[in-house]
């Protein structure tokens, strides 16, 4: 059990011993918390004594009477504030004036408990504070983690954006220095590579915008009935230049008309990514099979290639941002490393699943299953 340190500051001995007795063996539980929380109660008779205790060991909760013999409760509160201590303060007071209440709230007092209080009232107040404190901690932790994820994303992104800049700059420097003589033809490969890197960078920026739009939920979606076979055919057609270049044959197997309620653009992005990958990562002279079929309430789309395939360990990371499988086979293939992470994010919107089967050197098969039964996203 986790224990919170609680300090009672009151000049009345009855209150001090009362609080100790009431909170002894008392614990707070909360569905989100792994552990119940109990209390370790300390007491102080005066404000001065309270300050000494606060300097010595960290307190989580302070129950503070305002009317004390020496310095007042509000002064103790001010000290806690100045030191930026992570403490929740509850004022316990018999005669709270409005003036004091405003002042104490401004100084960060969390709650007021009027004196005299019943054990039940005290426990209720302590329970609320404990839960509030737990939630605040969780929020802070999640904010920090969120910032870290963003920072990591940004540093990878900056790396991905700087690499093409470096490459193009390097080629320009070589041309400036006329590394390969005065014949312009000697530099055509470099110009070609530079243009490719610039195109890659443009694709990355477009993909980035897609990711950001999906993640922010700001993308306007238009859900309508769409015919999957037609969109598959369109996508295959749009990659014809690429498939001709790679000498890859692409086949569509779709025996019946299959309709899906979805955003047309999103489905296009998914299909374009899967089909272009199947062509890009194929062998010269290979083939791609795009199949669509319906089983009960399920719509099953598979994209199978005869390409370079992947190792088991690579598949696990495949749908994360900026993951690209690097090998001798993939070094001439350009990609942003965002395509499949976009596919996964979009499929999540439809509660659709995606599975990969792959054998190095033989090919990969991506299978997407839409549940046509629960179709109202």
């Amino acid at each position: 059990m986790e224990t919170l340190n609680l300090l009672v500051v009151d000049d009345e001995p009855g209150i001090r011993s009362g609080v100790s007795r009431i909170l002894d063996n008392y614990s707070v539980s909360y569905p989100f918390m792994d552990d119940d929380i109990g209390f370790n109660v300390k007491t102080a008779e005066t404000g001065e004594e309270a300050l000494e205790i606060l300097k010595g060991e960290p307190m989580d909760i302070v129950l503070l009477d305002n009317k004390l013999p020496g310095i007042q409760g509000i002064d103790v509160l001010e000290y806690i504030n100045q030191q930026k201590m992570d403490v929740v303060v509850v004022m316990i007071t018999s005669y709270a004036s409005l003036d004091l209440a405003v002042k104490a709230t401004r100084q960060g007092a969390y709650d007021f408990v009027p004196k005299p209080f019943t054990p039940k009232e005290l426990r209720a107040s302590v329970e609320t504070i404990t839960k509030q404190r737990f939630l605040r901690r969780m929020t802070e932790k999640m904010n920090v983690e969120g910032r870290q994820v963003r920072f990591q994303f940004l540093s990878v992104l900056s790396h991905e954006l700087k690499s093409p800049l470096n490459a193009v700059e390097g080629y320009l420097r070589m041309m400036e220095e006329k590394k390969f003589g005065n014949d312009l033809d000697q530099y055509l490969d470099m110009v070609g590579r530079s243009l490719q890197r610039i195109q890659g960078m443009r694709n990355l920026i477009m993909d980035m915008l897609d990711v950001t739009r999906i993640e922010s939920g700001k993308k306007k979606r238009k859900i309508e009935q769409i015919r999957l076979c037609d969109i598959c055919q369109l996508s295959i057609d749009s990659f014809q230049p690429l498939s001709i270049q790679k000498d890859v044959d692409v086949y569509l197997n779709c025996s019946e008309k299959i309709d899906l309620y979805a955003d047309r653009q999103e489905i296009e992005i998914i299909l374009n990514n899967l089909i272009s990958n199947a062509i890009k990562y194929n062998k010269d002279g290979g083939r791609v099979d795009v199949s669509l079929r319906k089983e009960d309430q399920k719509i099953i789309l598979s994209v199978e290639d005869t390409g370079i395939g992947m190792e088991e360990e690579d598949i696990r990371m495949l749908f994360e941002d900026f993951v690209r499988i690097k090998s001798e086979h993939t070094k001439n293939i350009s990609g942003s490393g965002l395509g499949l992470s976009i596919v996964k994010k979009l499929l999540d919107l439809y509660n659709a699943s995606i599975d990969v089967e792959s054998k190095p050197g033989e090919g990969s098969c991506f299978t997407v299953v839409f549940n046509a039964g629960q179709q109202n996203n």
Binding site: S155, S163, G170
Partner: protein, 132 residues
């Protein structure tokens, strides 16, 4: 009369354009160059031969592949000078995750450089490490 042997430099980077440019430029400095595109290729080369100096990219397959490769090479050849280059130095203040002396000690790189470095500067640094 003994002819002075050319020194061999291993360059490892997953950006083939950068690899090609570095190869061209470092060759022009008068060195022999071996290149590797992946961590595995680099490990294979180091298992077979001992270069006189290695230039490693920091971020290859993973964010810290360069560190790991550096550690592995240094374990085998403690006296082989290693330069780690990266494109992310400027933004992250170079340290990325290397903040403690312990981590630096583990990596054992001789020099960290930004990828934007000018070739004449790089040449100077290589000569310094090779004690030419």
């Amino acid at each position: 009369m003994l002819k002075k042997e050319k020194k061999t430099i291993l360059i490892v980077d997953d950006d083939q354009d950068y690899l090609f440019q570095m190869k061209t430029n470092v060759k022009d400095m008068g060195f022999d160059v071996i290149t590797a595109y992946t961590l595995k290729e680099a490990e294979d080369i180091v298992a077979r031969t001992k270069p006189d100096l290695a230039i490693l990219d920091l971020m290859m397959e993973n964010q810290d592949t360069g560190f790991i490769l550096c550690h592995k090479i240094k374990s085998k050849y403690p006296d082989l000078p290693i330069i780690i280059v990266s494109a992310v130095t400027a933004e992250t203040g170079m340290l990325f995750d290397v903040t403690t002396d312990e981590e630096r000690d583990w990596i054992k790189a001789d020099l960290f450089l930004d990828k934007g470095i000018r070739m004449d500067q790089l040449h100077k640094e290589i000569n310094k490490l090779l004690k030419i």
